[in-house]
Amino acid sequence: MEITSRALWTLIHGMGFGVLYLMACSGVLVELYRRCIPRSPSVAPNDGPFLKVYLILMSLLAWLAVLSGTYIVYPWYRAIPPAGTTDLTGFPQKLLMSHPNTIEWHSLGMEWKEHVAWLVPITITMAAAVVTRYGTELRNHPKLRSAVLGAVLFSFTSSAIAGFWGAMIDKSAPVEGGRTITVMKGTVR
């Protein structure tokens, strides 16, 4: 069982940071919504630190996802093949753009994903900062509370868009290459 170093980094970026972030979103949306409902059942005062830590960890995940995507995986994706290259396997962007049936994966999917993904750390960092600063006092600021919930919704939607396109693009033109890492050796039966 082998994996290339580039495929491993793509896995860490998407399945590690990205998917973990998306999963965490559902939890924070429920928690923030619970705090937005008037007379919501039992939001205990000691719930505050948990939500703060949760949002700070989500911000960390979001930053790791966009930074690893933009500065580690994306350069491999958009690598320029040397003149005369006919096998575009190691050049995903050029591979997608070489055929009319796949070009939209880049010109719509990647063009959208590469920018919208950056809304994720911006919005969730803001949410973490506001919740950390105001704590339980956020109950007395309904507009701020709604804005935080709205920003987290934007964050969730943006990460879902980025995750969807990332998975589909990598399925059509995987980022491969680099050192081969042997994970496990089996026997042929």
Binding site: P45, W112, H115, H141, G150, F154
Partner: protein, 114 residues
């Protein structure tokens, strides 16, 4: 125990909404800036070249770095200006509108209209 909790609550209840509004408006400004820079980079080869801060990543490096810098700078400036006072309630809807416009402009069929 109850006294301590209500005393804490009365102290924190004095927090004005300025700091939170500053964070939210800066988010709207940062998102909108990123969308505008992405469109400018797409439309103008000269701007595209200027936005290449890191060669292997191309203009995306400049678009995101500049937008993040503007987001953080506007947050710092607004926070200093507003943290000790309450600001008008219109800031929050304006911020969410900026965020929504930025989000929509990043969708290529819409961004390509400009």
């Amino acid at each position: 125990m109850t006294d301590m909790t209500s005393s804490d609550a009365s102290q924190t209840a004095r927090l004005p909404n300025g700091a939170g509004s500053a964070a939210i408006l800066a988010t709207g400004i940062g998102s909108f800036t990123m969308a505008v820079l992405a469109i400018l980079g797409d439309q103008s080869p000269a701007i595209k070249k200027l936005l290449i801060f890191y060669g292997p990543t191309g203009p995306l490096s400049g678009v995101t770095t500049t937008a993040i810098a503007i987001w953080l700078l506007s947050w710092a400036v607004l926070d200093i200006a507003w943290k000790r006072r309450d600001v008008t309630g219109v800031i929050v809807p304006v911020s969410l509108c900026l965020l929504a416009i930025g989000f929509l402009l990043m969708f290529p069929p819409i961004g390509d209209l400009f």
